[in-house]
């Protein structure tokens, strides 16, 4: 049976950003369940639990203590059990080379953290919606690349 909500995880060391993130989803009318982690290690510990509920979309900040976003990305991409997770990079940086690099490494979405709340909501909504389309309309996930 289909679950009736979209499961979302965010790994970001910044408390404010986590707050913005959860607030944004609360205000959106999409039925979501949001979990947050403060760094890469905590995230990977959670994901690697055998009975972990894997998210539909995983948002990764690049700059995190202990284990950064790129390291998490590489780990996730090297494990087949995470194949269904759409990975969104959620970062302040907007260097073209940097963005392309993360895509090549397997990220599906690259989000430059917006600087106002309305935009943040729109961006998150767009990401989840597009992911939903990939999920429900049988689109080829290998071709899922999005930059906002």
């Amino acid at each position: 049976m289909q679950k009736e909500y979209i499961h979302i995880i965010l790994a970001d060391d910044d408390e404010d950003d986590r707050l913005f993130f959860t607030d944004a989803f609360e205000e959106l009318k999409i039925n979501t369940k949001v979990n947050t982690f403060a760094d890469g290690v905590a995230l990977m510990n959670y994901l690697n639990q055998p009975d972990a509920v894997l998210p539909d979309v995983l948002f990764l900040d690049l700059n995190m203590p202990r284990k950064n976003g790129i390291e998490c990305l590489d780990e996730i991409k090297s494990d087949e059990k995470f194949n269904d997770i759409a990975i969104a990079i959620f970062s302040t940086s907007s260097s073209e080379e940097h963005i392309e690099e993360t895509f090549v490494r397997g990220a599906n979405i690259y989000i430059k953290k917006p600087s106002d709340f309305a935009t943040l909501k729109k961006v998150l909504s767009d990401v989840v919606t597009l992911n939903w389309q990939y999920h429900t309309s049988g689109l080829n996930k290998d071709n899922f690349l999005m930059r906002i």
């Binding site: 999409i30 895509f103 989840v128 919606t129 939903w132 080829n140 290998d142 690349l145 999005m146 906002i148």
Partner: protein, 185 residues
């Protein structure tokens, strides 16, 4: 070794569905577009076994009429995109004629269920199709633009950028680099 496969969801689903219906000895008639008419009443136990097995393939029985209609809209849109020569009228007109509902109704219904508009969905699907064609590498961007009824490459590129946030050439470059890395492994 890595091979690239192109498959048709409709055919696959239809085949799986037929096999399962046969297997569970359910008398039926396939109406197309994910619609099956059950001709005889089936035992509850047998039916739940059938649904359970279908679920393994990711096929679920939609009970809600709305969802059925949305699925029909999606199927029609896909058909329109893959066979643009069939569509001689505006997509809204085509959809309402094909599904015998007013476009306004279809549009509202679709947005409610899918979190996106029909127009947006059409664009997403077109871009996805363009991506598929780009990845297969058989057509140039100009040919793809023509095939998908875009007025120009620039138009396709702009729409591509609007939907994905990246340019078609960046997309192609990224996919190629990924393939290179996969080959090295």
């Amino acid at each position: 070794m890595k091979i690239y496969i192109k498959f048709d969801f409709n055919t696959v689903c239809r085949k799986v569905l037929e096999d399962q219906l046969e297997k569970h000895k359910i008398k039926h008639r396939i109406l197309g577009f994910g619609e099956v008419e059950i001709l005889e009443k089936t035992e509850t136990v047998a039916f739940s076994a059938f649904t359970a097995e279908l679920a393994e393939y990711g096929i679920s029985i939609i009970e809600n009429q709305k969802t059925v209609l949305v699925q029909k809209i999606k199927d029609t849109i896909l058909e329109m995109i893959h066979n643009p020569e069939l569509v001689t009228v505006k997509s809204s007109v085509y959809l309402s004629e094909k599904l015998s509902h007013s476009y306004g109704y279809l549009s509202n219904l679709f947005s409610d269920v899918t979190y996106t508009s029909i127009e947006n969905y059409i664009i997403i699907q077109k871009i996805e199709h363009a991506k598929q064609l780009m990845v297969s590498g058989q057509l140039s961007l100009t040919e793809i633009a023509f095939k998908l009824n875009y007025s120009s490459v620039a138009h396709l590129s702009t729409q591509f950028k609007n939907v994905t946030g990246i340019t078609p050439s960046a997309f192609q470059r990224i996919i190629n680099k990924r393939k290179e890395i996969a080959l090295k492994k």
